[in-house]
């Protein structure tokens, strides 16, 4: 069964690059959210197998959105993909039960090997 992934990032470039990588490796993009609020709404509607979540976004940031998703479904699988990666922010993400934290930039290998560890 094809795994369905929700992409959350305020950059159209990141959606474009992730979509190419995921489709090339046999994954389906379940939906595209441009901020944390849309992420929570789309997660509820689409029930994806995995979420790729940026942190710095308008309206609701990625950490708040991840917290809302985890409170709704504690087993939700989330990979944070952020330009930031300092010890403080990584530990905040881990405290929320984030599965993997990746720092941008990324390549196909970084993305696909992270997915393989989570789903």
């Amino acid at each position: 069964m094809i795994k369905r992934i929700l992409l959350v990032d305020d950059s159209p470039l990141i959606h474009n690059l992730l979509r190419k990588t995921l489709e090339k490796h046999g994954y389906e993009v379940a939906g595209d959210a441009m901020n944390g609020k849309e992420a929570v709404e789309l997660f509820t509607q689409l029930s994806p197998d995995l979420v790729f979540m940026d942190i710095t976004m308008p309206i609701i940031d990625g950490l708040e959105a991840a917290k809302a998703i985890k409170s709704q479904q504690p087993t939700a699988k989330i990979i944070m993909l952020s330009a930031m990666g300092d010890e403080e922010i990584v530990s905040q993400a881990k405290a929320l039960g984030i599965d993997i934290f990746l720092q941008k930039p990324f390549d196909d290998y970084k993305i696909i090997s992270a997915i393989a560890k989570v789903i």
């Binding site: 305020d10 950059s11 159209p12 470039l13 990141i14 474009n16 690059l17 710095t56 976004m57 308008p58 952020s82 330009a83 930031m84 990666g85 300092d86 010890e87 403080e88 922010i89 720092q103 941008k104 930039p105």
Partner: protein, 156 residues
Amino acid sequence: MDMRMTVPFVEALQDIFKQMAMIEAQTDGEPFTDNEEVHSYGVSSIITFAGKIKGRFLIDLDTQVALQAAKNITGSSYDSPKEQMVLAVVSEMNNIISGNAITKLNNEYGLSLRLAPPIVFAGTDVIISIPKVASASVTCTTAYGKLKASVAISKA
């Protein structure tokens, strides 16, 4: 301004242009103080950050540098710097450069800095007015034209 603060930004700028866009950016010299209004080279992006200090980082690219970066990253050609994907490339590159630089500053100095989403402009008629806060700029040469980076930092 403590010039040590500029080093992570310049290093990240060179790393990210090389890694993401396959563009080598050679610095033209040491960072210099920059307090005057300047006309944009073509496409510019500003990002602000705040924590125990606050500041902003600006990148300003010749149009050809922006178009080539967009082509190398997305695999598609673009005619105008005002196309959405060209603006998205410059904006996201600024986000990643700043994020990587701030990660180093946070880990080294415990500054708890966080980024705001970047803003991007296209057009050589854009005038960039640098407020009178301590700032340092550096210009770089690439195979496709010039780019400039400027860091300003002040007390929170």
